[in-house]
Amino acid sequence: MNESEDIKRFEDRYDQPIDGHFGVHGGRFVAETLMHALDQLESLYLELSVDPEFRSELRSDLANFVGRPSPFYFAASLTQHLDGPKIYLKREDLNHTGAHKINNTIGQALLAKKMGKNRIIAETGAGQHGVASATVAARLGMECCVYMGAEDVQRQSLNVYRMKLLGADVVPVNSGSRTLKDALNEAMRDWVTNVDNTHYIIGTVAGPHPYPMIVRDFQSVIGQEARSQCIERLGKLPDYLVACVGGGSNAIGLFHPFLEDSEVRMVGVEAGGEGLDSGRHAAPLNAGKIGVLHGNQTYLMEDDDGQIMDTHSISAGLDYPGVGPEHSYLKDIGRVEYDTVTDDEALEAFRVLNSKEGILPALESSHAIAWVIKNAARFSSRDVIVLNLSGRGDKDILSVAEIDGIGL
C-alpha cells in the first residue's frame, strides 16, 4: 500500500477511530470505574460534534472569547535573518490566556455543561492548560481543581497564581517525578473518585479514547484557519508545517486538516533536552518504545522493565514521557517527520524571535522555531513554512532570567 492510500484509509477513520485506535496506538486502558464515563463522553461528543447548535455556540465562543481566527503572520525579519524559507507564524500566542490550550478547554467545558457536570479537573505542566481550564470554569461558574507537579509549581509560579486568581484549587503533586505525568496520575485518581459530578479536561491529544479524538477535533481549528489563510494570502498550500510536540495537541491541531494534502510536509519537534545521547530529554517518538501509559498505547520513554523514565526539558509543557497516539501512528506510517532540538537551541530561538520579530514565544513553541533556524539551509527561498507559535513566553520570563543569572 502506498503512503497516500494508507493516509486515505486513516482519513476514513477520521470521525470515529476504529475502537479508539490509531493503528496499534491509542485505545482505552483505564480502571474499570472510568469505562462507563468514557462511553458516555464518546457518545455525547459524537452526537454534539454534528449538532448545529453546539457548533454554533462553540464558534461564537472561539470568535468572541478566544479571539479567533488567530493571525497568520509573515515573519519578514526572521525570514531575512535566516536567508532561507518564507516563515509564517500561526499566532496561537495571541489567543485569550496566551496559548492554543483554550481552543480545547472551551469545547470541553461546553461538553461538561451538556453532561450536567459542574466540576472540572485538569492536569497541567507549564500551567497553560491549567489557566485555560480555570478560565472556562470561572466563566461558566464551575468548580475547578488543577493538578500540577510540585516541580512545575516552582518553575511556573506566575501561572499558579493566575489559576488561583481565577478561583481554581491548584494541587501540587509530590509523587513520582513531581512533573506533568504525575499530575496526570493524580487527576485520574480524582476522576475515578468523583466521576459522577466531575469532567476531566485532558489538555493534550493523549489519554484514553475518546480524548485524543476530541482534543484533536477542538484543536483542528488551528489548521483549518491556517489552511484557508495560506490559500487566501499566497494562493497555494504551504510546503512545510512545523510544530513542537509534547503530548502533541498544538501539532495535531495544525497538521490534521492538511493530512490529505500529500504535497504538504510536516515536522513535529520534540524536546531534545540535553541531547538524545545524554538520556536527559523528552523525545519518545525519537528515542522511545511502544507501551501503555495514561490510558493509551503509544511511544513512551521507558526502561527494560517497563518503568516510565524521568524526562527532562527546559520547557515544562514538553516534559512528558509519552505522546498522543495519533502522532505515534503518523510516525509509523511516515506521514510526519519527528525530530528534536536541545534546550540550548530552544533558548537561543526564544531570544532570536524576540529580537528579530518582537514576539516573545513560549519555551515550548521555541522548539519549533529552533528547528526552523537549525534547518534553514535545507529549504529554498521559495518554500513556505507555517510554524505554529503555540503560546507566548510571558510565563517563562522568570526562568529565563534565572538561567541568565538575573534575579527579578
Binding site: 462507563h36 513520582g176 496520575n185 485518581r189 475515578v192 473518585t193 526502561d303 522493565d305 517497563g306
Partner: protein, 268 residues
C-alpha cells in the same frame, strides 16, 4: 483444577470465605517478601495478591503508591517478582498467587514470555488494573495457554450490560471494586456493594471477591457475608510501612492483623 478453583471450592464446602491479602513485591525490600507472604498464609490468608511495582500506579491511593515506590527504590523488577514467586513456591504448593499491576510491565517483558515465565514460577492469576476486556484479547489467549487466570474488575459504575460482557471474559474469580475511588479510600457503602454483588451472582457462576476500601476486621466480616472473598491491601501495606526496620516486628503485626480478620470473617 487450578489452585484458585480448588481454594474457592474447599472454602465453600467448609462454608468459609476467602481472605485475600495484597502486599507489594520488594516492599520494604526483596529479602522480606517471602517471609511476609509466609506470615500472611500462617495468619489465615487463602489467596495472595502480590503487587508488581510500577512508576505510575494510576488507580492506587497513597498507601499502595508509596509501597510501589519503596519496591522500585529497592530495584524490584517484574523478573525479580517472578523469582520471588518461584522462591515462595518452594515451600508452598497450595496457596494461589495472583499478581496485580499495570499492563506496561507485562508488555515490556513480552506477553508470551511473561505467560511462560509466570506459569513456571507458579503464578495462578493476573489482575491488570488498566486492562479492560476490550483490550485484552492477546493477553487473554497467552495466559489461558499457560493456565493462568486473567481476573477482571467490575466497578460500581459498571453498567449491567458491561458486567455481562466482563463476566463472559472473566476467569478465576471476579474482583468487585467496592467503591468509586482509589485503593484504600474511605467511603465504603456496604448496602450498595451487596446489591451489586447480588447482580454479579445472577450472571456468573465464578466466585466474587470484593476489594478497595476494606480496612478492618469489621468491614471484612460485613463484606464476607455476601461475597466469596474479601481483599485487604492498603491496611497491610501501611503496617509494613510503619514497621519497616525489624522483620520480626513486621511479621508479628501482620500476623495479628490477618488473624483478627480471619476470625471476624469466620464468625459471620
Amino acid at each position: 483444577m487450578s489452585r484458585i478453583e480448588r481454594t474457592f471450592r474447599d472454602l465453600k464446602s467448609n462454608n468459609k470465605k476467602a481472605l485475600i491479602s495484597f502486599v507489594t513485591a520488594g516492599d520494604p525490600n526483596e529479602e522480606w517478601t517471602i517471609p511476609i507472604l509466609d506470615t500472611l498464609v500462617e495468619g489465615g490468608v487463602d489467596i495472595l495478591e502480590i503487587g508488581i511495582p510500577f512508576t505510575d500506579p494510576e488507580a492506587e491511593g497513597p498507601s499502595i503508591q508509596a509501597s510501589s515506590e519503596r519496591g522500585l527504590s529497592q530495584g524490584m523488577t517484574l523478573v525479580k517478582v517472578l523469582e520471588l514467586v518461584g522462591g515462595f513456591r518452594k515451600d508452598n504448593g497450595i496457596t494461589p498467587v495472583v499478581l496485580m499491576g499495570y499492563l506496561n510491565s507485562i508488555l515490556a517483558m513480552g506477553i508470551e514470555h511473561f505467560a511462560e515465565k509466570a506459569s513456571r514460577a507458579g503464578v495462578d492469576g493476573l489482575i491488570l488494573v488498566n486492562l479492560p476486556p476490550e483490550e485484552a484479547d492477546q493477553i487473554s489467549v497467552a495466559l489461558s495457554n499457560s493456565d493462568i487466570n486473567l481476573i477482571f474488575l467490575v466497578a460500581p459504575t459498571t453498567t449491567k450490560q458491561r458486567a455481562q460482557m466482563i463476566a463472559e471474559h472473566a476467569s478465576g474469580f471476579i474482583y468487585y471494586v467496592s467503591l468509586k475511588g482509589i485503593t484504600g479510600a474511605n467511603h465504603l457503602q456496604i448496602d450498595s456493594v451487596a446489591e451489586n454483588v447480588g447482580f454479579l451472582r445472577e450472571i456468573s457462576s465464578l466466585p466474587i471477591a470484593v476489594g478497595f476500601g476494606i480496612k478492618n476486621a469489621e468491614s471484612a466480616a460485613a463484606i464476607s457475608k455476601f461475597s466469596d472473598g474479601v481483599v485487604v491491601g492498603s491496611r497491610l501495606v501501611d503496617l509494613i510501612a510503619e514497621h519497616s526496620t525489624l522483620l520480626e516486628e513486621t511479621r508479628s503485626r501482620l500476623l495479628a492483623e490477618v488473624t483478627q480478620m480471619r476470625e471476624a470473617i469466620d464468625e459471620t
